[in-house]
């Protein structure tokens, strides 16, 4: 995303510069909206138990299961994970713990 594009979605944009009618003229900027602080519960990935079956990846409603280019699960994106716990429930190997945030 260019600097100009970033500006129109930044929290400092003025009413004179903001996009008309609230349109979103650039694709791929939803990641700028950080929703991680909505979380009250937190998934903890236990790497040693993980079998890389990737069942957690498709069920995450926030695309917060991080998968690298080799197709391996590498952790959780806590900027966007809302702590719904679906991944922990789905994992057949108990490789995701689900604990209270801040504990």
């Amino acid at each position: 995303m260019s600097k100009k594009e970033l500006k129109t979605v930044s929290n400092t944009v003025t009413w004179k510069e903001i996009t008309e009618g609230g349109i979103m003229p650039y694709a791929g900027n939803a990641h700028l909206f950080k929703t991680g602080d909505w979380r009250s519960m937190k998934p903890i990935w236990l790497q040693e138990k993980c079998k890389q079956c990737l069942l957690c990846f498709p069920v995450c409603p926030d695309s917060s299961i991080l998968v690298n280019e080799e197709g391996a699960m590498t952790g959780i994106d806590f900027d966007h994970c809302k702590g719904c716990g679906v991944c922990a429930k789905v994992c057949p190997f108990k490789a995701i713990d689900f604990v209270e945030e801040g504990k």
Binding site: W15, K16, I18, G22, I23, M24
Partner: protein
Amino acid sequence: MAIRERMSGNEAMAVAMKQINPDVVAAFPITPSTEVPQYFSTFVADGVVDTEFVAVESEHSALSACVGAQAAGGRAMTATSANGLALMWEILYIAACSRLPIVMACVNRTLSGPLNIHNDHSDSMGARDSGWIQLYSENNQEAYDNMLMANRIGEHPDVMLPVMVCQDGFITSHAIENLELLEDDKVKAFVGEYNPKEYLLNKENPISVGPLDLQAHCFEHKRQQAQAMMNAKKVILEVSAEFAKLTGRSYGLFEEYMTEDADVCMVVLNSTAGTAKYVVDQYRAAGKKVGLIKPRVFRPFPVDELTAALSKFKAIAVMDKADSFNAAGGPLFTEITSAMFGKGVVAPKVINYIYGLGGRDVRSGDLEIVFNKLLEIASTGKVDSVYNYLGVRE
């Protein structure tokens, strides 16, 4: 040469739409605006327009279809009245905030309840804060002319807002009057093409419309929308001036009738202004200095111009064909008086009459009561009652 014709107000609006030839018309029938899409659907069936006519299942869907069509990059129009407009409510605000210059023929009818199909202004007055430009029309000619100007106003890059053209249900919508039409090619040249900067079907620059807009940005969008409404005033005057050159019919923000040396003035919207002009003529013939102001543009509200025009009168009666049920006066009255106070215009005595609700006939004799009261106030300087009802059985 202009075309001399005779037709109802509804047909006049439909003919204007035919000449504009929009990309999409989506509408649902409701009395008294039904004839507008009815006439229009025959133009579609006869192949005289290129429009996609969407026969939807409700007014909510009608305006939603217009929002989709306009966001896609097309020119969309609709027509409705009363409860149809009420069913569009949610989408009225979405059309305006999304800056989609849809044009609507609003044929004014009492908003139920009680259930009533006749004319007052409770439908469009309720939509006064929805972000739509509102133009009011005294007669069939004005309804036609306002429709022809609506696209140019709404689609102006400094505006980009939807426009509602209002006329009185049955009184003008169903009355056949003589009027002058423009030739099709002249309308086409005047209205021009709609070329939005951003639109959904533009594959070169894809956009999303209507995304979530929270605390960080929503206020900025509202402020920007407010600016568009402020900008609209200048654009309305420019478009009207161009229209006057083309047709010889000039329109401003409001019409002043016999106001130059008037002591007292009535302010009234739409068809009742015609009756009031007749009464003014009678009073003038008897040497009484009465005048009339007929607002054409209610949104944006012409605060500076209207207060300046009203400042010279001793007494003013603001006529509302809608009640705000606020125990204090109708919408036109409260807006005019607060505008005058804000501008420091406090010399004229201003009173309010709620009149003609539910289609109650408004005769010249009714309006004489108002002018007589105004002349009495002008001579005594005393106002016994500010908020009044006219033509109701006491």
